[in-house]
């Protein structure tokens, strides 16, 4: 049996399943024969872990064996205790083990101490009352037991230095005795007296003496003695020496000891053994924290280690260099690092080296030019491994300049960046992140200094989009860059000729499967069609760093909502409230029902109110006027009305639910985000009003109670994200400004909430935090919407909307809605999607007004800059727009464009 169990252990070590035999091993430990019992213990310690089900069968036997007369049985049981006893079973064996601390056999005492140490590791509280026992055992007659006691003491001291300061003297005297060979000869190892005990003691002293002058002074003599006595020809002697250096670098510095430590290090570094070089490099890394000047003596040795074929040694050396970096040597070190980075294949380590390069470059860059060059190299070689944030940082750096109010320097920097990027573009196979940076910079600054013509840059950009045709992000960046360049050209009054390849590219993108690309292509088309003034307001040149204020709570809509609710509109019902079955198929069949919908229009008429708060008042206001409005104006409403009959028109409440579900389905989750917050705030405020005004709103009162909880749920993940980005963001900025390399502008994007009376305010105020600057800065190079003098939205509106006047209340609020909504969008994508999406989202906000008009197709375009008085139709359109903007144009809802674009 015994042989079989040993075979089984072997089989399991080779990687096969041996769990069928575990129970036999457990049975074996109950055997009387010592040999069988020991084999059983060996097998269970190797088979089982402390949480295994069979442990419960073992505990009783262990208890019995710990009381055995035969010390070998006790030892075997203690071995098992170390491995198998878990937190719950500790109390069962603890008393016996404490008794064993006084066992006559030293081997048993040692193992009992180790068992207690193990308990301490597993559950410190279970043995906290026994700490004094460890101190007592330190004075054990047997040096072996004393040495074993050092292990738990080391752990205890690591956790709490101060309560063991009194032991410094005892440790020092023990170390002295050991070093003076007072221990029995048997403890010598390679002519070193008890080196393992020395090492342990030095480690403990290093902990106790760290930044404690008084304690350290006690140690100086003995550490100095060991330095002298150490035999540096044997391996173990060097181990003790190394431990001495660690100790010296940790305790309160003493000049004499530092000198001997430096000597020892130079011996290590000069040695032929790679092991010793490795230890020397490691020790040097510790010592330069205290005395940086000693590194200079060893420069050459360190450089040798860099050239060494040994990978471990090289990495250790780079670690040392990373610690040694100053603004004077940063260029050399980072160059070296990049070289090394190119030579390795291990992605994990490559990422680490790349991030270190970036960190050093950010901290110590001697010049901006150098910084950009370095970043280019890093991106080129490890672009896909670098954190995307680094790319955003680089873009921001180029956009904002370096903080000094020196515009010529900034523009020089930019043109040098443009030049280097144009050069790099010639190389094949660049990483995606790097291409994004290149496209952005070329789009923003490619033509800024007039050195390169627009057609040259656009040609390059088209090449990029074609060469990397399977990377949609890059293509999207390229299209946006094209748009910017054309916009700058138009704004400058030059005539724009689109290159033929650009035309073909656009045609391809217009039919792209990616809605993002499609969107951007349409935007580009729309922008090119506009005149210089409009373009300049949409895409002013070099304005990517201006701040945008985002009103997250949509408080500007409060009045409007209040008003509409008073007029009988139903408050918004959050997504979660709208339960019920999903009727996707209804929407598939919409078109068929459209024809028959006319007859049912009146019945379905009220329903659109509930979908989105903002759309309600016009409907109620113009309950009679609305009917004659051409159907094409309201593609969506007509869908909704048609669905109702097709579903079930039994109860009004089910109708409501069904319809809303459908909407939710069609527009994806994000549709409701902006409107949720809006109507949350108002519906809470005016709940009483609703029930008075609109008697049919019984459903509301039912759902009202849950608003609060719903809101909490909605806010908290957002808050967490913001907090996370807050803690990430500012630290970067601080670092940069601290090193004087570049003081970033206070690019704060305060999310202010203006929802004064609603309870929403409380929640949203908590969320009004600084946005991570890098994201917003680069995500929205085109939006200056809130800049007071230029309001592209208003201008656009003026350009495109008919000038008919209408009741001012509606007009006012809906205009506000239009102008603000892109911001909202920006905000939500900022927190939900990646930054690169934002570009398109905001632009989609910008370009939507013309598009909606195209769809409507009813009004003639009258260019009248000054007037902003949309008629009822327009306000309705805008209401629809508000909703549309709530949708992230992503691939999840391809139907979007069908609606907008006909």
């Amino acid at each position: 049996m015994k042989e079989y169990i040993i075979r089984l252990v072997y089989v399991e070590m080779l990687g096969h399943d041996a769990s069928f035999g575990y129970i036999h091993a457990v049975k074996m430990i109950h055997d009387d024969s010592l040999l069988v019992k020991r084999t059983g213990y060996l097998a269970v310690t190797l088979f089982l872990n402390e949480d295994h089900d069979l442990i419960i069968l073992i505990v009783n036997t262990i208890q019995k064996d710990l009381k055995s007369d035969n010390y070998l049985v006790v030892c075997a049981a203690l071995n098992a205790v170390c491995k198998l006893i878990n937190e719950e079973t500790i109390p069962a064996v603890l008393p016996q083990i404490v008794e064993l601390l006084a066992h006559p056999k030293e081997a048993v005492r040692k193992k009992a101490i180790m068992a207690l140490h193990r308990f301490y590791q597993k559950s410190p509280s279970s043995v906290s009352h026994l700490v004094s026992n460890f101190r007592k055992r330190l004075c054990d007659n047997d040096p072996g037991v004393m040495g074993a006691t050092l292990c738990p003491l080391f752990d205890l001291i690591t956790n709490d230095v101060n309560s063991y300061k009194d032991l410094v003297i005892s440790f020092v005297s023990i170390l002295k005795q050991v070093a003076e060979r007072r221990l029995p000869k048997a403890y010598d190892y390679h002519q070193m007296p008890a080196p393992f005990i020395q090492i342990k003691l030095l480690k403990i002293l290093a902990l106790l003496g760290s930044s404690d002058k008084q304690a350290s002074e006690n140690m100086y003599t003995v550490v100095g003695d060991i330095f002298r006595k150490c035999d540096s020809s044997s391996n173990i002697g060097n181990a003790v020496l190394y431990e001495c250096i660690c100790c010296v670098s940790s305790i309160y510095p003493n000049h004499k000891l530092l000198v001997s430590a430096a000597d020892a290090i130079s011996r290590f570094l000069k040695s032929d053994s790679h092991n010793l070089k490795y230890m020397g490099i490691d020790a040097l890394g510790r010592l330069i924290k205290i005395s940086p000047e000693i590194a200079e003596q060893h420069q050459l040795a360190v450089i040798d280690c860099l050239e060494d074929p040994d990978d471990t040694l090289k990495r250790k050396t780079f670690e040392l260099l990373y610690k040694m970096t100053k603004s004077t040597n940063v260029e050399v070190i980072v160059d070296r690092m990049i070289d090394y980075m190119n030579s390795i294949n291990d992605n994990h380590y490559k990422t680490e080296i790349a991030s270190r390069c970036v960190e050093l470059a950010e901290q110590f860059a001697p010049s901006n030019q150098w910084f950009i060059q370095t970043m280019n190299k890093v991106f080129e070689h490890a672009g896909d491994l670098v954190n995307i944030k680094v790319a955003h940082n680089l873009m921001r750096l180029i956009a904002e300049g370096f903080g000094e109010d020196d515009d010529t320097a900034d523009s020089q920097l930019r043109s040098s960046a443009v030049e280097s990027y144009l050069h790099i573009l010639g190389e094949p196979k660049l990483p995606s992140v790097f291409l994004q940076v290149i496209c952005w910079v070329l789009g923003e600054y490619g033509t800024a200094d007039g050195k390169y013509s627009a057609s040259y840059i656009t040609g390059k950009l088209c090449d990029v989009a074609e060469a990397y045709s399977n990377d949609e992000t890059v293509k999207a960046y390229a299209v946006t860059a094209l748009m910017k360049i054309y916009a700058f050209e138009i704004a400058a009054g030059r005539k724009v000729d689109m290159l033929p390849e650009c035309h073909s590219l656009m045609e391809e993108f217009l039919a792209s499967h990616s809605t993002d690309l499609q969107q951007r292509a349409y935007e580009l088309q729309a922008v090119i069609g506009l005149d210089a003034h409009a373009v300049e307001s949409i895409l002013p040149s070099d304005a990517s760093c201006e701040d945008i204020e985002v009103d997250k709570a949509l408080s500007f809509l409060n009045d409007y909502i209040q008003e509409s609710i008073e007029k009988g509109a139903q408050p918004y019902i959050p997504e979660s409230e709208r339960t019920g079955m999903l009727n996707i198929s209804n929407f598939r069949n919409q078109d068929h029902h459209e024809a028959s919908s006319h007859g049912l229009r009146f019945e379905a008429y009220e329903l659109p109110k509930q979908t989105v708060q903002a759309r309600i008042p016009p409907a109620s206001l113009a309950s009679t006027e609305l009917v004659p409005v051409p159907e094409a104006m309201y593609p969506r409403e007509s869908y909704q009305t048609t669905t109702v009959p097709s579903v079930s028109s039994d109860a009004a409440s089910t109708e409501l639910k069904l319809r809303l579900d459908g909407v939710q389905k069609r527009w994806g989750r994000q549709t409701h985000f902006p409107s949720t917050s809006t109507s949350n705030s108002t519906s809470l405020k005016t709940v009483n009003g609703i029930t008075q005004v609109d008697g049919s709103n019984t459903a509301n009162s039912r759902t009202r109670e849950t608003y609060d909880s719903r809101k909490q749920v909605e806010i908290s993940p957002e808050k967490q994200k913001l907090a996370a980005s807050l803690f990430g963001g500012p630290s970067k900025t601080e670092k940069k400004s601290a090193t004087g390399h570049k003081s970033s502008k206070p690019s704060s994007h305060m999310v202010k909430s203006h929802a004064p009376k609603s309870s929403m305010e409380v929640a949203s105020e908590k969320t009004s935090v600084q946005q991570p600057p890098d994201l917003l800065d680069f995500g929205e190079p085109t939006v200056r919407s809130t800049a007071p003098s230029l309001d592209p939205f208003k201008d656009l509106e003026g350009l495109l909307e008919p000038t008919t006047q209408v009741s001012s209340a509606v007009n006012h609020s809906s205009t506000a809605a239009v102008t603000k909504s892109p911001d909202i969008m920006g905000l939500y994508t900022e927190t939900t999607a990646g930054a690169h999406h934002k570009d398109s989202d905001i632009l989609s906000g910008l370009s939507k007004p013309p598009m909606t008009n195209m769809v409507g197709g009813t009004t003639t375009m009258q260019v009248a800059q000054s007037s902003k008085g949309p008629n009822l139709k327009d306000s309705l359109e805008k209401d629809a727009l508000v909703r549309q903007i709530g949708v992230t144009p992503s691939s999840q809802n391809p139907n979007l464009f069908k609606d907008i674009l006909g």
Binding site: I6, D17, A239, K277, T312
Partner: protein
């Protein structure tokens, strides 16, 4: 603390694996494979230390040594001294096993599996180095074998591989 001691041959077959922190069997196998992958890619005459990042372990380092056809590997965390661990391997591999078996070879370990474990238990307990005197270790091990023999009348432990084969 010491996390694991492994002995494997130059083909990557594990000959002895003792983990002081619990790892599921599959993880153990994976670790052994990774360690071997790194070991056999290392050139001659380089240091005996490996950053454990290479084998995807947190806060741990690796020291290995090469005797005859066997790799001895110790995995440990930052509270141990690398050179000391190297000496521990020396102690285990060269001194103790040599004394036990005279010209230790792979087969000795295969056939005296439980004895090797007994030796290791004497040296390392609960992940801490307990005993470094090879005479003391030998004495303890022999005492155990003697007692075991006494209780069983017949020894099941062959003295070495040769005696096992000659039976």
């Amino acid at each position: 603390m010491i996390k694991a001691v492994m002995v494997m041959n130059t083909q990557g077959k594990p000959r002895l694996a003792k983990f002081f922190d619990y790892l599921p069997v599959e993880k153990q196998q994976e670790l052994i494979r990774r360690v071997f992958g790194v070991l056999c890619s290392r050139p001659e005459n380089v240091s005996n230390f490996i950053e454990a990042e290479l084998v995807r372990l947190q806060d741990s380092r690796l020291v290995y040594n090469h005797f005859a056809t066997l790799y001895f590997v110790v995995v440990f965390d930052s509270s141990e001294n690398e050179l000391a661990m190297l000496d521990l391997i020396q102690l285990l591999g060269q001194q103790t096993l040599e004394r036990c078996f005279k010209n230790v070879c792979e087969l000795d370990i295969v056939f005296n599996y439980s004895k090797i474990h007994t030796i290791l238990d004497e040296i390392i307990l609960g992940g801490q180095v307990l005993e470094t005197r090879s005479t003391e270790i030998m004495r303890a091990v022999e005492e155990i074998s003697k007692l075991e023999a006494a209780t069983n009348a017949i020894s099941f432990i062959p003295k070495s591989a040769s005696s096992w084969l000659s039976r």
